[in-house]
Amino acid sequence: MKARVYVTIKENVLDPQGTAVQGALHSIGFNEVDKVRIGKYLELDVDTNDRAEAEERIRQMCEKLLANTVVEDYRFELEG
């Protein structure tokens, strides 16, 4: 089973990388961009066919390691 995990900086936390990219987009003419938030995308191959179990395990992985829940949010999708 494949898991796609998205980790993003919480809305109330400043994202200086996103702000820098927004500035760069404006400087090359993409003035319609109001906000950029940069996050992480992880692909995991998980050796199980049990969807419920995989969901629970990946949730634990996110809470323990993949995201720092003090400053980041996460979500994930399962496929297969």
Partner: protein
């Protein structure tokens, strides 16, 4: 008194910390590899700076799961002195021994220069040789040192006097909340800071203001130790 300096793959301030202990307080000090599973012999544990595990995923996130970190938790509970410097501070926040997190500097640049700090709390085992409000000169060297915590945590830090160092007004190098440069846990025995006191122990290196952090630790230990002996 016995000091331990933890070493993770990618630590690079371990030698500086080791030599700072030797040269400032002349106490016994060992390098301790990250796979160690017993720290009971040590009175003070220094988590040094560097780029443990290449800063992969998040700074300090992978070091947090090294075997030695279980022992650091035990030592913290036992009231041992724990000092995390730079990447060591990031490891201590990742491990939740200290609240909050360290984010990318607001200017996106790696900042490496001397920094003036105000000693906000001089009642910790790490700062008892400074005067409250004293301004000291300690270098910084980090790209991800912007301390962040939510409002509720900030109120707690203030209420419990957990803000140990602040960058002086107008000279915040990274955008940290309330100019915070270093904090301690509620009990005061765990301190994390982005600036490097171990690089400020000799005037030839630009400042010796970091020296008193090490003499503070020895002083605190002696007071605690003496009190225990005298009953």
């Amino acid at each position: 008194m016995k000091f331990a300096v933890l070493v993770f793959p990618g630590s690079n301030c371990d030698i500086d910390c080791y030599k700072a202990v030797e040269q400032t307080v002349g106490q016994s000090v060992d390098y301790v590899w990250h796979t160690t599973t017993d720290l009971s012999a040590y009175d003070c544990i220094i988590v040094p700076g560097g780029f443990s595990y290449g800063d992969y995923l998040r700074c300090g996130s992978i070091a947090n799961f090294a075997p030695v970190m279980n022992e650091v938790h035990k030592a913290a509970e036992a009231g041992k002195y724990i000092l995390g410097i730079c990447n060591g501070f990031q490891i201590l926040t990742e491990s939740r021994l200290l609240p909050g997190a360290l984010l990318r500097n607001n200017g996106m640049k790696f900042r490496c220069h001397q920094a003036l700090l105000e000693v906000v709390n001089n009642e910790t085992p790490f700062t008892n040789q400074y005067a409250q409000g004293e301004v000291i000169d300690i270098p910084i060297a980090h790209g991800e040192g912007s301390y962040y915590c939510d409002e509720a945590t900030l109120e707690q830090l203030k209420a419990n006097n957990q803000i140990v160092f602040r960058y002086v007004a107008g000279a915040n190098p990274n955008g940290s909340v309330e100019d915070i440069a270093g904090i301690c846990n509620k009990a005061g025995n765990v301190v994390g800071m982005m600036p490097h006191p171990e690089r400020a122990v000799n005037s030839l290196l630009g400042s010796e203001d970091g020296k008193r952090m090490f003499t503070s630790i020895l002083n605190a230990w002696r007071e605690q130790h003496g009190a225990a002996i005298n009953g």
